[in-house]
Symmetry: C2
Subunit: 586 residues, 2 copies
């Protein structure tokens, strides 16, 4: 492609709305153009990168026997009511009416539509396993679109759905998807870290997220310094060390203490002269409108995700002072003492040790001493509802310590189980080989194309611009003639003819200075730069620069193709040694 | 692909909701599955065909220097208000709000978004010409979705937009798109007839539709029996023969005739004893809320499309009796006599001849005789507002006669001109080589992928099923072993291994009878059927059947690849001899 014909319009100022490197460089390189908050047009360069990613997605999905379909963006609300997602999902789900006033939604994912297809066509055990996938537009009304393509309201998703005769078959197939995902990210130049994930509102029986560590990521995950344990902070557990010095099976009875004006934990620690571990932290929530009292040891924080999951609550928010007052409770002086039977009480494991806690008095300006689980307060449920902490000991190996990292979620795999095929949702059954009706078991698997593109830029850039991996670059080679002399231009044209059938070549035929051309080449991030100049031609050579390493060397014109081929081979990501999950040999 | 692994679920009953062959066979072959009225999932087979079509679209669009982009489905209403389409388009445009109550629409086409891109990036004459296109989801709330994929509410469109420094450059580029369109349809196995089209609400300076003649088509177009004239009935003109016997420059003055109870044209013809040509037919419309009186000679009907275009009216409907009464008029007894200056009067050319017409009396039960244009009634505008008629003489050659055909609109090309770049819409200007600001000129070009798929089936099917052209077939070859004998199965497998890297092969490895397998092969429409059987193996042969011609012949196993290749070559549509438009050599 000639640069003068290509729709490329770079600029050098940092756009004021852009903060993350991918947002800045994708805008500056004219890869994308904003249409509305969180809604973008992929310009020709951006489209080329997206197509490369889609090709990799297709190859890997086809490689695990995926069959591609296309489902619609516009979904009848009726289907979403069947699975209750119509009610469970908040304003992220766009809802509207057609001309006959029938309700529709814009699909965020396609469990409903694909399960309806499965219900229609999967009748026998012979029809499974089957993996159907698509690469298709998704729409979500995100509250805070940000970071260019990192979090948007409309995007392209590779979403796949597998159907199985039973859980064992899903368990057998799942590692193939997991491994295909690792290969997809690796082929795009990214080392994705698979972590155990929370299954959240999607439900299901097991789930992994594939994370790219990045300061601009919105997700947090823990890794163990010693073993292979990796998990989303929403699900991660660390060791909850026992404060041996505080243990006391038979403390004195509960005692009221007047604590006027003492409201912060720091003030309480001073007042009572004991450390955080000695306090019972109590928080009141409304879970789907119902009051819930959650208590945890003072050195921990409550994980609202864990709590919501434990309660199977779609909507969890802090209880208002008004709601508390209705039950005769006071924020700041809460404790679970005396509440069981009146409201739901859930207690973290850490607070069930025999520690005589300091707790709220359930009336203003009063705290209680010597509050003991079992003796002085009871729970409807005891569970892990604690936020994991940086430095916690790993529960898996009991040796390493956990550290918390920020990351970009690149993909997500779920063992959905029968969440969408159960009798009270879409009710999908088949006839097994014995002639008995059985329930279909599902998995679902998603990767966002534009986010993946942005993540590649987050991982691969420098101050001058993008450094595309050869596998996803819009062009592999940029050919730059220096000056306007005939023999330079003729050689450049000859090089272009020679290269264009083997590589994707952007030929910078502009009448611009070398400085401008080099700057644009770096900004655009084309992996290989080939320069043709008068000086080089005197030795019948051209110059190759490798964008990733910065290496520059001369190369005889007649060896150019071979050299470029060998460099591209070197630069192509390797697929050995990834943290693959073991696949059963079939 | 093994049939037992493929997501193929044929059935034999005609689905009750399906009427057209494409709808019936695409459902029966499990190519598509309905999600809601006019909204479909493309199942794996349908998706494969769509991908073939998209590949052809990309190759041809890239061949005319198109650069692919991806624009969003969700558009801010604000952009659509700028071009006024937000107000001009009726309920086909889905409208809704986001969580912050900002207005959005689902894009029916992308003039707004692409012109906004052009406004941002096209600054200089050096930036043009440029063609940007996409293959992307469109949503339209059609009043009457029908015919399976023929008219739907969500579909994939190849829409392209070209930007030019002036009209001459657009005129130079336009034939390249026109010819690419002819090649696209030809490569899909369709002989598209390009016709002059009405530009309708899209506006612009010239337009063609590419029609496939079909009884199930919703469009009507005329063709001349003698010359190359082809036009949409909404735009077509035929010769309006002069009824010489009725001409009379100086008829007696107007005379009132009482016509109580006479309301139909047939009754009037009887009563007055003259033919249709002697009557002045007058119809009252409301054009964007304004009363308009249209008059035409009695042997013609008014074309509402021509009338609306002439009036530049977005909304045209018959005037209500109530509206008429407000102006003292009576339906059934209308004439333009005495109305000029009171309401807008538009008269077809046919009614301006010196014919003393019989016309309505503008009061109940009264008609007028000897009404003469110029003398007795005047017009604000004289124009061609007549519906073309079957059998009219062609105006272009004055020799042939016009016939009216039904057709499926496969594609549409528009010279938009400055409709979207004008000052009062998106206002897109650039700096020419002399340093002067000039307005950007546009073209736009669209093809619906799913409709094209359905059109191929309308054109290529028989009673047994689809007959895919080799270029768009989901698989080119279906390999059918007969029976379960080892040598048959082994030979089938060997054939599969031999063929699979050269062709897309569907290997029918089911344990089904030959009858079932043959029936499915015909229904699915795979172009080439290869049968392996015990009998054939005795002579070391297999059998090839060509779906299109029905020819069956034996072929030695070792010649199979070469034979299939040569048949596919023969079956591949030729691109010579299409009715190409002349391109300027650049």
């Amino acid at each position: 492609m000639r640069y003068t014909r290509a729709f490329i319009h770079t600029f050098y100022e940092t756009p004021k709305e852009a903060e993350t490197p991918s947002h800045i460089f994708l805008l500056r390189g004219s890869y994308i153009y904003p249409v509305a908050a969180g809604i973008y047009t992929l310009l020709p360069l951006g489209h080329r990168v997206a197509e490369k990613i889609k090709k990799i997605l297709r190859e890997e999905m086809d490689g695990i026997e995926g069959q591609e379909v296309t489902m619609p963006v516009v979904n009848p609300a009726e289907l979403w009511k069947k699975t209750k997602r119509y009610y469970d999902i908040g304003p992220e789900l766009f809802r509207f009416h057609d001309r006959k006033n029938r309700e529709f939604v814009l699909a965020m994912t396609h469990e409903e539509v694909i399960t309806d297809v499965a219900k229609q066509f999967i009748k026998s055990y012979r029809d499974m396993p089957v993996m159907l996938y698509q690469i298709q537009t998704k729409v979500r009304d995100e509250a805070r679109p940000r970071g260019g393509l990192l979090r948007v309201r409309e995007f392209t998703m590779k979403d796949g759905y597998s159907f199985h005769p039973d859980f064992e078959d899903l368990d057998r197939y799942y590692p193939r998807v997991y491994n295909a995902y690792l290969r997809i990210f690796a082929r795009c130049g990214l080392e994705a870290i698979p972590i155990e994930a929370d299954t959240g509102i999607m439900g299901g029986t097991g789930s992994h997220e594939f994370m790219l560590p990045s300061d601009y990521g919105e997700d947090r995950f823990v890794t163990c310094s010693h073993c292979s344990y990796r998990a989303n902070t929403e699900k991660a557990v660390g060791e909850k060390k026992v404060p041996e010095n505080l243990l006391n099976e038979n403390p004195p009875p509960v005692e009221e203490v007047s604590t006027p004006g003492i409201t912060t934990i720091a003030q309480l620690m001073d007042f009572f002269g004991i450390s955080r571990e000695g306090f019972l932290k109590t928080v009141a929530y409304e879970a789907d409108g119902k009051l819930v009292i959650a208590a945890i040891r003072g050195d921990f924080d409550i994980s609202e995700t864990k709590l919501a999951n434990r309660l199977k609550a779609v909507k969890l928010e802090l209880a208002s002072e008004e709601t508390l007052r209705e039950k005769g409770l006071y924020g700041g002086f809460l404790s679970p003492v005396g509440l069981k039977g009146k409201v739901t009480v859930i207690v973290d494991e850490s607070a069930t040790l025999p520690i005589p806690f300091i707790a709220g008095g359930n009336k203003p300006d009063v705290h209680l001493k010597n509050v003991l689980y079992g003796r002085d307060f009871q729970a409807d449920d005891v569970a892990d509802i604690a936020e994991v902490r940086e430095g916690d000991t790993c529960l898996q190996c009991r040796e390493g310590t956990l550290s918390i990292k920020r990351g970009i979620e690149l993909g997500h795999t779920f063992k959905l189980g029968i969440k969408y095929t159960a009798e009270d949702t879409m009710d999908v059954q088949y006839l097994d080989s014995q002639g008995n009706m059985q329930r279909v078991v599902m998995g679902c698997y998603g990767i966002g194309v534009e986010r993946l593109m942005a993540a590649v830029v987050e991982r691969w850039h420098d101050d001058a611009g993008i450094i595309w991996p050869v596998t996803v670059a819009p062009y592999q080679v940029i050919l730059i003639p220096i000056g306007q002399r005939d023999n330079v231009l003729n050689t450049a044209q000859a090089c272009y003819e020679m290269l264009k059938n083997r590589f994707e070549v952007l030929w910078d035929d502009r009448n611009e200075s070398p400085g401008v051309k080099f700057k644009d080449a770096d900004l655009l991030g084309i992996p290989l730069r080939v320069v043709v100049s008068q000086r080089l031609l005197e030795s019948n050579s051209v110059e190759i620069k490798v964008r990733k390493t910065g290496e520059i060397f001369e190369c005889p014109v007649n060896e150019l193709v071979a050299r470029l081929e060998s460099i591209i081979k070197e630069l192509t990501p390797q697929l050995e040694g990834l943290p693959y999950m073991e696949e059963e040999q079939i």
